[in-house]
């Protein structure tokens, strides 16, 4: 990947990700509704929601919360830009962490009961998925000798061949990142949970709209990770990779609709066990092969 | 099946006997069903209902309005629900309640609505 393709990648991400992300969210809601035997909202509903939120009366609980949320959005976008510019995977992961921390801090700053517990849970979830995300990056590094996405997508082999365990592990923690049942602990798209709206309890109007759009950006970027497992030097692989992304997303919706929300103990136990079994074993095998 | 539902079993007792009776009933394996109060002209009429094997037994006592009676929460803790209710709505006075909401079990616009003291 050279500079031009990087720039194209970044621009495309900046413009298309919110559109694709919003659309994906709309399709998600429609499919979920159908799975529940309901008619469901219009596919464009997430956009209506977004514009509605932009129109609402501006209120906040303190002067700094908006700043944190804005940083969350900015750094989520930067993360995605690094990704689609073909940057360094570790850099991307660290930037993502920074972004997520801003979200957590925004919730903490409100000093509001449910937001605070949501923030704690979000942190817990971050602790749960972080190892697996890092292992994923390490996995790519071991087979390509580089953390650079540009190198990974032009590799001579498809990464999934060497990283089946890591792929499964990643899809597992993707459930947390996409905020799907069984791991929608810190905030959920559904109201009925013990935390009211968890992390986002105190965000309203434009602030909430920023959260929404950040999630669209984030979701597209996360699917980018899935994409990486299937894209390689061959010309047809991007098509396959995009298909796999869609299938993965569908499976996440199915899981969302087939599971109760688990408690935090299960979230952390299972994620870590997955990281240790699937991730660690896969890495071991890789190292073994390379020696 | 016997027509147990027709058995009413109202037993009048003196306030002083209450705790003893209730303790006996508990020892016999009775379960507290409910307690309620009726404002009658002489004061209060309080009914405690118990159940054992689906058979009902009601203790009934009358007290003048000002008289304090012993709380049975020491024997049947769940009775706090009824005693607090009677306290809030009727103004019945109980001694030694295990859990006393202090008049805030039911927050009502006027105190003791069943027993207005205007």
């Amino acid at each position: 990947m050279n500079l031009t393709t990087s720039i194209i990648g970044v621009v495309a991400y900046l413009v298309l990700a919110p559109l694709a992300g919003g659309l994906l969210a709309g399709i998600d809601r429609k499919i979920s509704a159908r799975m529940q035997g309901r008619f469901g909202p219009p596919v464009l509903q997430p956009f209506y929601d977004f514009f509605k939120l932009m129109e609402k009366e501006p209120i906040t609980v303190n002067k700094v919360q908006d700043f944190y949320v804005m940083c969350f959005l900015i750094f989520i976008i930067i993360t995605g830009c690094f990704f689609f510019a073909g940057g360094d995977l570790l850099l991307i992961i660290f930037t993502l962490t920074l972004a997520s921390i801003f979200l957590v801090v925004a919730a903490f700053s409100s000093n509001s009961p449910y937001a605070q517990i949501g923030a704690e849970r979000e942190l817990l979830q971050m602790m749960a998925y972080e190892p697996m995300v890092l292992i994923t990056a390490v996995g790519f590094y071991v087979i390509n000798g580089s953390f650079n996405i540009a190198d990974i997508v032009s590799a001579p082999v498809m990464a999934i061949k060497f990283l089946p365990g890591i792929f499964l592990g990643f899809v597992f923690i993707l459930t947390i990142k996409l905020r799907k049942s069984p791991f929608d602990l810190s905030m959920s798209h559904h109201a009925h949970q013990e935390l009211v709206k968890g992390l986002t309890t105190e965000f309203s109007g434009k602030t909430m709209a920023m959260i929404e759009i950040a999630h669209w950006y984030e979701n597209i970027f996360l699917l980018g990770f899935v994409y990486l497992f299937f894209d390689y030097a061959a010309g047809w692989s991007p098509i396959l990779a995009v298909l796999v992304c869609l299938v993965t997303y569908f499976i996440e919706i199915l899981i969302d609709n087939s599971y109760a929300r688990m408690k935090w103990q299960i979230a952390i136990n299972s994620s870590w066990i997955v990281a240790i079994t699937l991730g660690f074993v896969n890495l071991l095998v890789l190292y073994f092969m390379s020696f | 099946m016997a027509e147990l539902y027709k058995i009413q079993n109202f037993v009048a007792i003196e306030p002083a006997q209450l705790i003893e009776k209730v303790q006996d009933l508990k020892a016999e394996g009775y379960r507290l069903g409910q307690a309620c109060c009726t404002k009658v002209s002489e004061g209060f009429e309080i009914i405690y209902s118990f159940d054992k094997d689906h058979t009902l037994l009601n203790l009934k006592l009358s007290i003048p309005e000002e008289e304090e009676i012993m709380s049975i929460t020491g024997v049947y803790w769940p009775a706090f629900i009824y005693e607090n209710e009677m306290q809030d709505l009727f103004g019945v006075k109980f001694k030694h309640m295990a859990l006393n909401y202090g008049g805030n079990f039911f927050k009502v616009s006027k105190a003791t609505p069943w027993n207005p003291k205007d």
């Binding site: 309901r38 469901g40 909202p41 509903q45 509605k52 939120l53 609402k56 109201a191 | 009502v108 609505p113």
Partner: protein
């Protein structure tokens, strides 16, 4: 055009209803009625809500709760009183602890009759509320001092 009518998020609070209307409100969310068709989400959080669905009437203990939820909702907002209890106190009107319908504490925009109010009636009521919502939104733009709430006389 205002998007607020396309994405009305609701919050439900049970004043002192008998449950009848509450479960009908909930039923509206479920497959048979599925109000998500209109973009309605039950948020459970006043700060995210546009429409306040109140069932049951006001009493001494919940008066502040009802007020607080209403106050915590950002403009534009609409209150829909659901069921006879919420509109006027209903069968409990004469009870010592009932202060009357919801309109005794906060301005009500739409009254949905019924005991219990049918899901269809609730949908109609919410849809009627959307019109009010759009008006209020327009009023916000004009920065007119008073929002489009007209105090109604007690019938």
């Amino acid at each position: 055009m205002s998007y607020v009518t396309k994405s009305p998020w609701v919050i439900h609070y049970d004043g002192s209803s008998c449950n009848g209307c509450d479960i009908e409100v909930l039923a509206c969310l479920t497959p048979m009625y599925d109000v998500e068709r209109f973009g309605i989400i039950n948020t459970g959080n006043p700060k995210h809500a546009d429409i306040f669905l109140v069932t049951g009437s006001v009493n001494e203990q919940n008066i502040n709760v009802v007020k607080q939820i209403y106050e915590q909702m950002p403009e534009p907002k609409v209150v829909v009183a659901i069921g006879i209890c919420a509109t006027s106190g209903g069968i409990f009107k004469e009870c010592y602890n009932i202060m009357g319908g919801i309109d005794t504490v906060i301005p009500v925009d739409v009254y949905v009759p019924g005991c219990a109010a049918r899901p269809e009636a609730i949908i109609d009521g919410v849809v009627k509320g959307l019109g009010v919502l759009a008006e209020k939104r327009a009023a916000m733009d004009k920065k007119t001092a008073a929002p489009a709430i007209t105090e109604k006389e007690e019938a």
